[in-house]
């Protein structure tokens, strides 16, 4: 982990300047160290694709990848993300070209109201990175921390299986 001290004297409770890489771009933010990563993404960096659902790590709506690991951004103080490499839903498409997982969600009906969708897609990417050929049980386990209230789980599981089929073996 990058060693980061808050700037100023040790008794100073103030904002600090932190650097991180977001979707491949170097960013510097001036924030309180206890601000939630979710709030920094949405309010400072204006990346509003990441959604807040429960705000307590139960629903997975705010899922992002830190150094390739799936996390709930509502539970991470920004200081703990300093120096890391972040991927949000905005980082998956290349220009107008959607990623394989995004396309599969669209085509299989894996998105309805859209609140869980960014988190579902990032959890799917995380799963497929670890297990490129997942079984249905792997898919259920990989997405078990992401709740959908439009009852679209079957279509979501179909979308992940479809994305796995389409992904390049490379």
């Amino acid at each position: 982990m990058t060693t980061v001290m808050t700037t100023g004297s040790s008794e100073h409770r103030g904002k600090c300047e932190l650097s991180l890489t977001v979707n491949g771009e170097a960013k510097t933010v001036r924030v309180y160290p206890m601000e939630r990563l979710l709030d920094v993404l949405r309010h400072e960096l204006k990346l509003t694709g990441t959604k807040e659902g429960c705000g307590e790590g139960e629903c997975g709506s705010c899922s992002v990848l830190i150094n390739g690991e799936l996390v709930n951004s509502c539970l991470i103080p920004i200081l703990q993300a300093a120096g890391s490499n972040l991927t949000t839903i905005e980082g998956l498409a290349e220009g107008p070209q959607l990623s394989a997982v995004q396309k599969a969600f669209l085509e299989c009906g894996g998105a309805q109201c859209g609140i869980c969708t960014p988190g579902m897609i990032l959890a799917s990417c995380h799963l497929l990175d670890k297990k490129p050929e997942p079984t249905l049980d792997d898919i259920r386990d990989g997405l078990s921390g992401n709740l959908c209230r439009c009852t679209g789980y079957i279509q979501i599981f179909d979308a992940v299986a479809e994305a796995a089929r389409r992904r390049d073996p490379a």
Binding site: M1, E69, L75, L79, G145
Partner: protein, 308 residues
């Protein structure tokens, strides 16, 4: 009401020495924070009384799983993901691997740590009965040095523990001494993932000479040589049911013993009614689980048995 981040201080010294020195300089003032899966929930709800936090997330000194000749030493900062993926833990301590898999979902498993689970001290924590059954020991660290304590007895009351204000948990030590045992772990919750237990159990047992006598004339057989039964969500702290263990040790496994154990389990616990369940349900289900464990001890099969 949501907390204001301006009211809180958080630093990340990046080295364990520096954290321990800070805890000694201002004992009780600084709260260590690892993956934040419990503390940030309290913080977001405006219920975190500590105002100064020191990050121990990802400290190299706390992350390792060391395989020593006579024990496995799990760094307190080891995540559930690492626990559930570790082959030696899956082989020697399958109930701990199961508990790691049952905790939260993938994102919480990537952040939640075993040391954090212990100091958060929830009576419903999934990993704690397994640590009690395997008779874990803790290495506690402060500027005064290290001390090693049995995990049994570490929790002294609801959210109370035998940990000085300047100490933190450095590692959890487990002796791989349970081959030939039935490892029986169950979690009863509303759903598989993201559910806090209504009742959980981790139990180990072995029959004399490692034998499981096959059923003869409908009777199970074989005397219980060693047994450890630990439960969660049924008392202010995770419990070892030592009186129940004493009651069944040396006895032959049969359905009568299973029924006696079912009855005795109820008197050893203090379950409550809460948002997740009722005392009556918890007591009844724990009785069923204890009876099932005893019955499975008598069933011939793979010595390591099955974990849910």
């Amino acid at each position: 009401m949501r907390s204001n981040p301006a009211d809180y201080k958080l630093i990340a010294p990046g080295k364990l020495d520096a954290v321990v020195t800070l805890l000694a300089q201002e004992p009780g003032q600084w709260l260590p924070i690892a993956g934040g899966t419990d503390l940030i929930v309290q913080y977001a709800a405006g219920k975190l009384s500590a105002r100064k936090l020191v990050s121990i997330w990802n400290l190299a000194e706390l992350r390792a799983i060391e395989i020593l000749p006579d024990e496995i030493r799990i760094g307190a900062g080891c995540t559930y993901t690492r626990l559930r993926e570790h082959q030696v833990i899956a082989r020697e301590f399958p109930m701990l691997a199961s508990a790691a898999r049952w905790t939260g979902g993938i994102a919480n498993q990537n952040r939640g740590t075993l040391g954090g689970n212990i100091v958060n001290a929830s009576p419903a924590a999934d990993s704690l009965p397994a640590l009690l059954a395997y008779e874990a020991e803790l290495i506690l660290l402060s500027v005064r040095g290290e001390r090693r304590v049995p995990y049994l007895g570490f929790h002294t009351g609801y959210k109370q523990m035998n940990l000085a204000p300047d100490e933190l948990i450095r590692a959890i030590c487990l002796r791989p001494a349970f081959s030939g045992y039935l490892h029986y772990a169950r979690k009863v919750g509303a759903r598989n993932a993201q559910a806090i237990s209504k009742v959980c159990i981790a139990a180990l047992g072995r029959l004399r000479d490692g034998q499981r006598t096959s059923e003869v004339g409908g009777q199970m057989g074989g005397a219980i040589e060693d047994v450890r039964i630990a439960v969660g969500s049924v008392a202010p702290v995770p419990l070892r049911l030592t009186e129940l263990e004493q009651m069944v040790r040396g006895k032959s496994v049969d359905s009568e013993l299973a029924q006696q154990a079912r009855k005795a389990s109820a008197s050893a616990i203090q379950p409550i009614d809460d948002i997740r369940s009722t005392a009556r349900y918890r007591s009844a289900v724990l009785g069923n689980l204890v009876a099932e464990f005893i019955e499975q001890l008598g069933i011939p099969g793979s010595p390591s048995g099955k974990t849910a």
